[in-house]
Symmetry: D2
Subunit: 332 residues, 4 copies
């Protein structure tokens, strides 16, 4: 039984809290939020002692693991405190947005030999995973091209956008950059990125890019394209297409129902699942299970610190290319 | 080169005329219509001498084959005249609606050893044919159930309906009865039929059945369902589903384009092809080719008199069951 | 909070136990099984006191509801005991296979004014429910035909088959008979049924029908077809097609993933979900929630005793028609 | 009636000859091929006088239009001779591969006021056209991204590749560059291109790029991605995806039949149409009809010299970017 301290009761926190509560080998022991009311509400629903002081939870020897659901810029400090307290860490991406801060954090993790998991949940989506398995099984031979569409139905609120410029790379495509490395078992060596502001000033007052396309060149020579938008009115659009010497694999979108409506004006199906939490519901449950199983088996979690670091490096290079207009090499 | 006399320039006649004109091994030599203007119009477009007198064409030794596109109740007499004149015959279904008349006509065909083709064009649809081939190749093992949906977008005009009561069996499902025999290589031994009038009195003033369902029991024990309607507002709906010991085959509908439209209210595709001539365009061209190849190779056409006779017997049994309410045996 | 006594820890029992345990407004209080070890195992996993004596649970004033997951022939007696003890009842279908026994049970429920729910879980499948909602919203106008495919991937074990002859109607199509009534808001007045034994003697030693087709005529005149098989090798095949004056609705099957595999031999997708528990996972959770909400609101559950009685009447008529060969009227 | 002189009886020539022969308003008058046997063979099949001397056809006052199906490097000279002889010109793309030669040819066309059509046949594909119409009708609002997949099942023979290095841009993607301009009614201002050699030395002995990705930035700011490969083993893969403020449109691939095969290992459909002539059969017929209608109405053909020139400019810029590694501006 793994006893969790969950830090950050807003946004994605309640989802993780529910998953912990319903996992047979996990229990919610502490809920930490600077807004104590939020912690109390979650605790009432899923168990766990509420506190606004992380030290309460870290001092508790029965706390085995810390799950970090706070805003990105707080991650590194919490990771380090948890690591120094001897707790395993499950952290929402990214580790940090500043690469030097990331490296420093990594040093602490290494020194403390902390089991660390960065939550690139898409790796656990059943369809994406089936695509991964088919590649590994050699179904399409050597990989030649990868095309990812990664589009959100809405832009984040202005405050959120202001806090993380170029979020289209740092917050959205960072998932895809991780998928590229994982699916291809290959590293990108160069990226070229283009962006646009297509939303009007009401929706996107900070004029931060809301539309983007990149091409990545991989070490093996394979080519990758990713496109993103913050205005997919038809729902959360997440597709992966892997093209190889012997065929193609496509992981398609999902819809709430299978209903088809035939009328004189055509055949209509549901729009896509609109919210990422619906789209990736299984992924969240499965990534938690993966982390728990790793702790119980005393093996490293399947997505580690270096995966978080690499995805951020690629995102940084994308931002640099978008700003400068020229292709940017990605360091090893 | 097969020289054709086409009889009946209305309805389906122009389609057959165009197919003959564009077939490399065929030529339109005569066009017979009691309305000489119709014959002239077709002749101007596709070649062929217009006449209102069938004897002109039958007396011509260069006429090899007669294609009959006239109303059903005239078929048998024209078949017999053509057969006695030594011409091969390609006839739209049915031979006749009266079984004794059909048998008499069959005797003439036998005596005259006339190459005879009854135009169950659906056998030549590429998707239905692929389903047939997959069954024959043993892909789904022994056949256990067959389900056919056979729905027209509109009811025929009142005059047409009045001229052929129970047209839902005699005119529409008769195609499916032929498909059942062909696909299964098996004969039905019993049918039970139910009908309904769902259209209102404006659309269906004669209150002839516009909706029907049947179950057929085959000699091998396999079960078959067919359903029909004259009100498929979303287009001409023609599907076949074959269920066997090792799997299932479905021949689906076709749409004019592959366009998908994603919007906030869902994903929309084209309605089905609306008109049977669009839906079965290839079938008409291919059945003509089959007939021509049979004549050239001096082998019997692939759909013969007995196929026409059997489909009519099943339709008759369907009408009897629909009227009496009880299951009806189908004679050998 | 509704406290449950679950009776019958095998087969479908563990699924219901898990759903009760994870429902925020429910708790598993008692688990009754004549095999006490089974009750203990479930209790260890989901909470609840194990017992082999139903009276223990019925005597407990804190027990609010009894969930019956035992074999069909034990249902009626347990329903009556629970009703007389003043407990609400959630019962797997059928109430019983003998209509007189069903009626007697119904009298007890009426006298005791017991909240009663019969678990036709398919009504809660999201896609079937969306089809229901679209019919109710008038999207396809008046209903004219309904076509249901209801096919299991495997036949039940011989013992199970021996205990319930004509299970293809009593156990499988009974779900569809309920769906027909629910979707159409209409009652069937006549049924004609045909069956076949397509499996060999190893798989189906009792030669009980493993393949069936029926046509139902509804009070409004609409026609319904249902087909079933116990050998859908490609998975659990559950489709509903509603045809109306203004269009058609199809509730399609589901697959484990959305992966498409393109190769030189074609495009391949997953087979269907194989097991009914996977196919209808949401349905089971949602039907429980419906029952709990009804109890909390003190309104009758949405599927009641009469629904169970009617579905059984239709199944009985189907058996009679299959045996006699003639259409059978269905009493009011 | 438009009388055609077809130049070049190989490769795509026979297809055009057949389309001319079956068009009601066109006739094949001359067939010119330096291989007189090829001209004779086509003439025997579709009519038209064979010759190896273009001047014969150009001197004939009854020749209205010249259709050019010869290898690319011969196009410009034939265009100019036809233009000077006062004939309308229908030319397979490209006009030439050298931009100065193209400009010179354009001057001749202008001076002679020749009706000129460059055969970007994809504009006439029914599904692509439906996508175009939906954009124009405003169905998805303003265009923000366009994603085109344009993949051939095989690489051209080595001789052909040697004669046109970077054919992946000059011969394949040039179609897509035209589609981008046509669909978006917008001009690209910059391109960045990446290529790879994924085929082995046997299939691709000249090591010419067989795999490519580009990003185009349009004058309006919209972003475009195109990817190509010469090894789509599952068939000729041609998809267009238009993303806009109000939704998305996808023009999907086509398959020979609609057959679905359900087995224990999944659901399989046909691979894609393999050959571009099958995939774009309607397009070839429709582009011819468009040209003929333009001549008859004395209006300019719908795809003109500037369309050919612009597509080539974009292809040139793509080659330059692929070679240099940096983004390349596209002149007006």
């Amino acid at each position: 039984m793994i006893e969790f301290c969950l830090v950050g009761g807003g946004f994605i926190g309640p989802l993780h809290a529910a998953n912990i509560a319903s996992h047979p080998d996990a229990r919610l022991r502490w809920i930490v939020d600077i807004n104590i009311a939020a912690a109390q509400a979650l605790g009432a629903k899923h168990g766990g002692r509420p506190t606004s002081n992380l030290d309460d939870a870290l001092a508790d020897p029965e706390t085995h693991a810390v799950m970090i659901c706070t805003p990105p810029r707080t991650h590194a400090a919490i990771i380090e405190r948890a690591a120094r307290a001897g707790k395993a860490v499950f952290c929402e991406k990214p580790v940090d947005l500043d690469m030097r801060r990331v490296e420093a954090c990594g040093n602490v993790l290494t020194t403390t030999r902390t089991p660390f998991f960065v939550a690139f949940n898409r790796r656990f989506d059943p369809s994406h995973r089936a695509l991964f398995d088919a590649i590994r099984a050699g179904e399409i031979g050597s990989l030649e091209m990868l095309v990812l569409s990664s589009r959100d139905p809405e832009i984040s609120p202005p405050d959120y956008v202001a806090a993380m410029p170029y979020g289209i790379f740092y917050d959205t495509m960072i998932h895809d950059f991780d998928m590229v490395r994982w699916l291809m078992a290959d590293e990108p060596i160069e990226i070229v990125a283009r962006t646009a502001c297509m939303l009007d000033a009401t929706a996107n007052p900070h004029r931060d890019p809301d539309t983007a396309m990149v091409i990545l060149r991989m070490a093996t020579g394979a080519l990758v394209h990713v496109n993103s938008s913050f205005r997919a009115v038809y729902g959360y659009d997440q597709r992966i297409e892997a093209f190889g010497a012997n065929g193609m694999l496509i992981s398609r979108n999902r819809q709430p129902t299978t209903l088809e409506r035939y009328g004189a004006d055509g055949i209509r199906r549901d729009p896509l699942l609109y919210f990422f939490i619906d789209r990736y519901a299984e992924s969240y449950a499965r990534e938690l299970d993966d982390f728990i199983q790793a702790l119980e088996a005393q093996r490293p979690p399947s997505i580690g610190f270096n995966d978080g670091r690499r995805a951020l490096q690629i995102a940084e290079a994308a931002v640099e290319s978008a700003k400068s207009g020229v292709p940017v090499s990605i360091p090893d």
